[in-house]
């Protein structure tokens, strides 16, 4: 099963007024999935722009992805050290101003450490790294990164992490649920003990989304699990920006 519409064709004019829609992908020391994410952006039809953690400048990108990996080796806590990079200062400002930001796995961990998203990520309840093809339900299409999915749609994308257990206090969880900010939920099995089976969430404005599984590893039928269920993330943002 794939996201509903097929990949968008490259639009000729993006909101940055510079031609293509530019999606930045940040590399921190220890980031692993940056090249894969750049590829996914390209396959979706946008222009991938590598961003470096030491720069402050976002190179006029229209959206930013914080990719997966082990930035700073996941030392201290996953995402804890990257959060303080010069680039993140700009990303935080821009995210607050409405720029679409997607955090995948380690990127999600960075987003919780910056408090752009509530809660925190802890060691999986079974204490092991887990790599599997994970089924998810897309709970809402009302975010910058999920508009190309239908609410309730089930997708399967790779999951791979050791610190993937999402926790937050009850009040926060209730709030997330009430405001429709739980974006993805684990189906069939909860792979890490995340509270309420939460796999991904969004901020109040819906422009910042974080999730543990990896859509960028599910954009080509040939590699990975052989599914393309993750492509919708990147086509969603493309359409949103074209129509903006």
């Amino acid at each position: 099963m794939t996201a509903r519409p097929s990949p968008a064709t490259t639009p000729d004019q993006g909101p940055s007024g510079r031609g293509n829609i530019r999606v930045g992908v940040v590399t921190f020391p220890g980031t692993l999935d940056d090249r894969d994410t750049l590829r996914a952006v390209r396959i979706a039809g946008a222009e991938p722009v590598p961003l470096w953690h030491r720069d402050k400048d976002l190179k006029q990108v229209d959206a930013v992805v914080l990719p997966g990996g082990f930035s700073y080796g996941d030392y201290l806590r996953a995402g804890a050290i990257s959060r303080f990079s010069p680039l993140m200062e700009t990303v935080i400002d821009q995210a607050r101003a409405g720029m679409p930001v997607l955090g995948i796995c380690n990127g999600f961990q960075v987003l919780t450490e910056t408090h752009l998203l509530p809660g925190a990520m802890l060691r999986n309840n079974h204490l092991h790294f887990i790599c599997r093809d994970q089924k998810l339900r897309v709970e809402t299409s009302e975010t910058a990164w999920t508009s190309d999915y239908a609410a309730g749609q089930e997708i399967s994308i790779p999951l791979k992490n050791i610190d993937g257990r999402y926790v937050a206090d009850e009040r926060t969880l209730d709030e997330l649920e009430a405001e429709g900010r739980v974006v993805f939920r684990y189906l069939d099995m909860n792979p890490n003990g995340s509270l309420r089976d939460i796999a991904g969430i969004t901020n109040e404005a819906g422009n910042v989304v974080g999730l543990m599984p990896h859509p960028e590893h599910a954009v080509e039928p040939l590699v990975g699990t052989g599914r393309t269920d993750g492509l919708g993330f990147f086509t969603s943002i493309l359409k949103k920006l074209v129509n903006a």
Binding site: A80, E113, L127
Partner: protein, 88 residues
């Protein structure tokens, strides 16, 4: 050089699977009578200069903003009186 220790533990209401795994293993290894185990982190900081009020305040801030994630963790800052090991 003085040593300051920051102990970081998960808040009591947060599930600690590492501590639980330890606790569950104990009876199998023949250790009875441990009702609960929590596992946290210990940071030993070697501080240059005097460990006065101001230095401690800075370390407190460092713990709060960086060493611990106060969404899930509590911390305690202690000046280590005698860096020699108490036992072992």
């Amino acid at each position: 050089m003085a040593r300051v220790v920051v102990d970081v533990m998960l808040k009591p209401e947060i599930l600690d699977p590492q501590g639980q795994a330890v606790q569950r293993a104990l009876p199998r290894l023949g250790f009875e009578g441990i009702a609960d185990v929590r596992q946290g982190k210990r940071f030993e900081l070697e501080v240059e200069g005097p460990v006065d009020e101001a230095a401690l305040a800075r370390i407190h801030e460092m713990a709060e903003t960086f060493l611990a994630n106060t969404v899930i963790e509590d911390f305690v800052v202690k000046v280590e009186s005698d860096p020699a090991k108490a036992e072992s």
